[in-house]
């Protein structure tokens, strides 16, 4: 039974694409056939983070419009056989996504893949609604900051009211909270909301905590999902997250400041 997982947040720049790339790569590395779809039509980014931007010929919108078939648009990852990327169109806008078109493509993908990861655009408009509409599960990406938390709350409301599962009154979309860019030292100094604060406000189970880490930027710029960098704390945290998504129990790491990690950062380790 394949699962459709939307990575969403409401607010922009909190780590949706980074998360989509790493979760998809992590699931594929564990042998699950996985496809990751970029729903951010017009602001195509996922292909860059996945390092396949020079291999994009056809895209999601081409397939919806019948200008290409799914096989022509899917890009196979060079590092992992089980992983495919469906890139967004850069020259169209979100209105190119129709509910029927997206539904048909997801139905086809379900035949071939175990996991379908939908990388949502920011906002609560049409593009984001299309990304979450068919979801079985949602990874709500949040930064420990009040505006990000409030926007995530808004998206949770949308998941409960505007998704297919809500409309058909099926079992609700399973919600997971992923807290990104967490800096324990700044929580201690009171600059940042704590894990408990965020978990209390959003009141959904935590699937992971990704520490603020220089490796994320480096990974994005080099086109390698950060989960591939198992030396980095962010890479390890994504690995934990993927394991939890697959039902494993792992303790939450990087909640408090790690002295060694800080020194490592100082010496560029």
């Amino acid at each position: 039974m394949s699962k459709i997982i939307v990575v969403t947040s409401g607010k922009g720049g909190v780590g949706k694409t980074t998360t989509s790339a790493s979760i998809a790569m992590g699931l594929a590395q564990k042998g699950h056939k996985t496809v990751v779809i970029d729903f951010d039509i017009g602001l195509r980014n996922l292909d860059l983070v996945m390092g396949c931007e020079r291999r994009v010929v056809y895209d999601f919108v081409n397939v919806i419009n019948g200008e290409a078939n799914l096989n022509q648009a899917l890009i196979k990852d060079k590092r992992c056989d089980a992983l495919y990327i469906l890139p967004a169109s850069q020259t169209r806008d979100k209105d190119a996504l129709t509910r029927e078109g997206v539904g048909q493509i997801l139905e086809q993908l379900k035949q071939r893949f175990d996991f379908i990861i939908c990388d949502s655009p920011a906002g609560i408009e049409h593009g984001a609604m299309m990304a979450l509409y068919y979801a079985d599960e949602a990874i709500v990406t949040t930064n420990p900051e009040v505006s990000s938390v409030r926007d995530s709350d808004r998206i949770l409301g949308m998941l409960q009211s505007r998704s297919l599962r809500a409309e058909r009154e099926l079992e609700p979309v399973k919600e997971h909270l992923l807290l990104c860019r967490y800096a324990p030292s700044r929580v201690d100094s009171g600059d940042m909301l704590s894990l408990d604060d965020v978990a209390e406000i959003l009141a959904i189970p935590m699937i992971g905590l990704i520490p603020e880490c220089g490796s994320v930027l480096k990974a994005s710029n080099s086109g390698n999902p950060v989960i591939l960098d198992q030396q980095s704390s962010a890479g390890q945290a994504y690995d934990d997250t993927v394991a939890r998504l697959l039902g494993e129990q792992r303790p939450m790491r990087f909640v408090t400041e790690d002295k060694k990690g800080w020194l490592q950062k100082l010496f560029g380790g």
């Binding site: 409030r150 926007d151 709350d153 808004r154 949308m158 409960q160 406000i201 009141a203």
Partner: protein, 220 residues
């Protein structure tokens, strides 16, 4: 400073419905006159909603009905439950058509219970009765009830009790962090919140037109 030239505000008014069942305009004129003469001061310039649903075909022209009603010093504001023919005539006479109020048909108003978090941007309305929320209410969420509101999770959103004017409605919060509380249109912002009740079990009620907070007893 920029001041807007217009401002839309909510408001609810009680208007009388004048139900017409006569056969001819003359009949209407006669009975209306008799009725108004009983208390001319009371009826003077009184706004009324016209209910023409009791009139039998062939329909009298709306214009004649309006002339008769206005001739008796009443002010017809709108039609209610109008048939298609009258709807069109109402449009020609620049009169709005109202749909009959469904609330009037509700005999019994059940309690509305919400057991999932109410998220930012969501609005819950308990029509005609009380609202109970067993989960947290987020900043930017709105609870509206014609009766009272009870929140068992943290209350961070806005609560409007007595939305249709019931001044006896109350708000009960087990963890008060509300952005705004209002009862029958009287509101109170968290900016002016007395810190003694913040994050505490609190009851909010209206007393002499003022919002009053008081501590709820909580078991230790």
């Amino acid at each position: 400073m920029h001041t807007p030239a217009i401002e839309f505000k909510g408001g609810s008014f009680t208007l009388s419905i004048l139900k017409l069942v006569g056969q001819t305009v003359d009949q209407l004129e006669q009975q209306l006159k008799q009725h108004v003469q009983k208390a001319p001061k009371l009826f003077s310039q009184m706004p009324v909603i016209l209910d023409l649903s009791g009139l039998q075909p062939p329909l009298m022209p709306l214009e004649q009905i309006l002339t008769t009603v206005r001739g008796n010093d009443l002010k017809p504001m709108a039609l209610i439950d109008a048939c298609e023919g009258y709807q069109q005539q109402a449009q020609e006479n620049a009169l709005p058509c109202l749909r009959p109020n469904r609330r009037a048909n509700i005999q019994h108003s059940p309690l509305k219970v919400i057991d999932r978090p109410v998220r930012s941007g969501q609005q819950i309305y308990a029509q005609g009765g009380d609202l109970v929320v067993l989960a947290p209410v987020s900043n930017g969420a709105e609870l509206v009830a014609d009766g009272s509101i009870h929140v068992y999770g943290a209350m961070r959103g806005r609560a409007f009790a007595g939305a249709t004017g019931n001044t006896d409605a109350r708000i009960f919060c087990h963890d008060l962090q509300a952005e705004l509380v209002a009862i029958a249109g009287h509101y109170h912002l968290s900016e002016h919140q007395d810190p003694t009740h913040w994050q505490k079990p609190t009851m909010i009620q209206l007393e002499h037109g003022r919002i009053l907070h008081s501590a709820l007893p909580c078991p230790q």
